[in-house]
Assembly symmetry: C2
Homo-oligomer: 477 residues x 2
Amino acid sequence: MSPQRKLLLLGTFVHSKTQQDLDFLHKAAIAVDAHGKIAAIERDAHDSSEAKARLLAKLGWDEAAVDVTEAAEGQFFFPGFVGITTDTHIHASQYANAGVFGKSSLLEWLETYTFPLEASLKDLAKARRVYARCIRRTLSHGTTTAAYFATIDVAATNLLADLCLSMGQRAFVGRVCMDSPDMNPAYYRDASAGDSVEKTQQVIDHIRRIDPGFHVVSPILTPRFAPSCSAEAMSGLAELHRQTGLPIQTHVSENPGEIQLVAQLFPETTSYTDVYDKCGLLTPRTVLAHAVHISEEEADLIAHSKTKVSHCPCSNTCLTSGQARVRWMWDKGIDVGLGTDVSGGYSPSILEAARQAAMVSRHVAMAIEEEKEKERAKLTVEEVLYLATRGGARCVGLQDKVGGFEVGMEWDAQLVTLNEVDDDGEVHHEDEDDGHGFVDMFGWETWGDRVAKWLYNGDDRNTKRVWVKGRLVHRRT
Amino acid sequence: MSPQRKLLLLGTFVHSKTQQDLDFLHKAAIAVDAHGKIAAIERDAHDSSEAKARLLAKLGWDEAAVDVTEAAEGQFFFPGFVGITTDTHIHASQYANAGVFGKSSLLEWLETYTFPLEASLKDLAKARRVYARCIRRTLSHGTTTAAYFATIDVAATNLLADLCLSMGQRAFVGRVCMDSPDMNPAYYRDASAGDSVEKTQQVIDHIRRIDPGFHVVSPILTPRFAPSCSAEAMSGLAELHRQTGLPIQTHVSENPGEIQLVAQLFPETTSYTDVYDKCGLLTPRTVLAHAVHISEEEADLIAHSKTKVSHCPCSNTCLTSGQARVRWMWDKGIDVGLGTDVSGGYSPSILEAARQAAMVSRHVAMAIEEEKEKERAKLTVEEVLYLATRGGARCVGLQDKVGGFEVGMEWDAQLVTLNEVDDDGEVHHEDEDDGHGFVDMFGWETWGDRVAKWLYNGDDRNTKRVWVKGRLVHRRT
């Protein structure tokens, strides 16, 4: 990556300090170097110009060589969202179907909605149209890192990687592997286990050409899910992981019908998770999406292997899959992030996924009798925002680079604006009447209230700027 | 109301035919007379200009005297949303707290968040600011009829009625009655049962002055909920209902703690619903919000008395109240509509409430073992849109006036626009890049898919025009 102009960000910064707590930096400044890295942070200055002056002096930077962005009163900088299965799991190919799921459950939904659309994306003009829209939309919703399930088509998957790189979204791009002749339609499957591995290698080679250090775009090994794959294909991908260290993404235990099917297809295993374990796919670089119905033993296996889980609350509800128990997984020591799982879920927004994570945790709580456990099951505003940022970063192995604001981390961030309501109940903007969405501030809110209101009613209109690795990749006027 | 210019609407119209089915009118035209009533409907013309010509000829109207609005290709007209507790239950006074509920449950939440804010609205400048914003927001989200819980303050409640009338939102405005000295804070309660009735009468008198026929704004009798009220106050309001025929709104069976409390406070009754029955408050003009935990017997009592229920799925989840069972209530023959219950729920949007109704029905389904019943519990796109329109209209007794497009009904409607994605994955608008929200159409969707995508990803940006009784009350450029 060629060096960029240095950045200086001034104002209020909000990020997760711990799983339970947000850190609010007021009258602060963050300096970002020419490689997109956070070089220094100043906080608690008398005002932001003092913070700026301190930083410039400390770093010996010339203000003229620096682009300055100051958050206005009430605005704040927040880390970019990391869907692990940050949208580690957006199924880019299915973006076009968002909101179309009828009353179906998983297996019907694949047959009816998903496979036909995915297959059609071998038409590269169509793939460009859908993928470009998906990247544009997720960036505009503040998703700076996405892990994508593309399709089985190599050229279309390579195109997705090209588009992520040129549009500046940090991405893990996975060519979907599915070679089982019995479980996949004839028009949409890999010819053999060897074919799954070989075509995955072709995508890896392509991405290595366009982004040799995988600084922005990385391949990710992507067996669709156990029912679609032969044990041979999955073992082949595990071998590829051991050779390359590349991350892995797949699905686990999304719904009861699927779990029964896996038990029939792999009779020699003890559980769905065990299928992956036997194939060598449970690794600290593996993300399993859903994990709705995993048993105690499966959770222990996941925890022990340091495998990660992508919680997809919206999809799990839309498809009536079930309620994944985040608190319980956390208690087991499992790292959890958020996924949108479009089009199983309807929304491309990780903010919406965070909101849904809070809501689903309340449905989990409703089923618990014991008062203290009921209370614990509920996820707080702080906790779901952790899932959306640092939690996701841990899942894709980027916890030292993104998800928070610390010296040495990269500047993947969004600038958030809310409405200020005047005495007549009106909101004024330069441009148009609702340019800033409908999160209304009356002036008496605490900073905690502000963030809660953003979580619950915010949308892409509140995300005014988005940076990845210091590069401005989205801007809303 | 003074006569307005006549209207002619051209294009595609979508509304509920039955609880299960949407009706799509293409190349159609609707004529609206000077009183805001639908005078005639033409459908299935060769094109919309033919439909227009037919209508003008049939009615003998001169085109020069008519304002014509034509929906562009892909746009459609949809009935305005009727929150029964159309926002029959928006708690206008609590709008300012949207998204701020922490991990609290109902009773704490009232103490911590609700009563202090409500009490502060006796400051009329503050009330104007909050209420105007709330009306503006709900109109912009397509809510043409709202039933509001205001506060105990007569002047502030009258101000809310004034604002609804001047801003053109059809509304039921309720002064909140709460006289129990033990259950309400000293700083925020009615002095006595007589005071509750007397101050309600003052609001009725005010509304009768500003809108004598209650054509746009109507009073609604509003005992807050049983724990807040003496039996005497509730009986007094029931007597007022018998004298005036005015509608009634209150809450029932929102959460277990509340239900226990009611049992303690009213030991002579058999259930929460029975409290209202004994006081004479169960009537065909009564709307009970929530009804989450009602028993078979209570549901029968509600059905038998033709009392209505406002389903508030967002609030019920946010406050971990529980999952109301809409299919079960429908099976009992109970009319159900939707409420946002802001700020228990976070969103002022009935479209969001409809979405949440679909989601919550899936959580209800998850707890059901039997396959067929599990399947039945899920609400479809068509069914939740019915709840949002005709269902709500039935709850507030307006089923012959609003909620659908039929001759003799009034023109309460919204014009909906979605995005059309071009070959590069871009969306173009005259004004700004995301002026139409993020519901993306790729051109291959059926009309059913379009409506589903709107339901699941739509927001106020998709609502371009809103009319109440033929008057344009919101316009988005």
